[in-house]
Symmetry: C2
Subunit: 98 residues, 2 copies
Amino acid sequence: MNPIGNLNKVFESRIRLGVMSVLMVNEEVSFNDLKEMLEVTDGNLASHLGTLEENAYIKVHKGFIGRKTNTTYSITKTGEKAFKGHLAALEAMIKFSQ
Amino acid sequence: MNPIGNLNKVFESRIRLGVMSVLMVNEEVSFNDLKEMLEVTDGNLASHLGTLEENAYIKVHKGFIGRKTNTTYSITKTGEKAFKGHLAALEAMIKFSQ
């Protein structure tokens, strides 16, 4: 059995793992809230969000609070399915290692 | 709570995760056996083994079978401790996401 057979390459980054786990349990989360929760820089977060968006794992919503732009993110059905698969593969690897 | 707070950056690669999980449950494993189990190329495996060795998470043993060189790898105490910490952090992230 290949202990890493079903791991998803897109989730090979801690920050992308973090984004997906936050979006699994929150309807919509703003860029700033994600940045605070995951303790990452703007640039770092933006590039990882871009990769997740390209893979259609998350959706971007451009809104306004007063006259200030407010960008929020939510997980897609595809993203949820892919991430659940990755978590199951991680659990299998953890079991393999014990 | 930062869902990725305690994840170890060294284990941010599927292949390094795979090497560590195999070495957690095997005394010593040869380069070729690792390559077969993880379904990776020579170059890819060699570079990830190098990173794990630099972090003192694995040890290299240069031996011979007949006149053929036989290189094997084993996990270090430091590696075992670091990987167990990473697995615990992954489990916490998985719980956070459900």
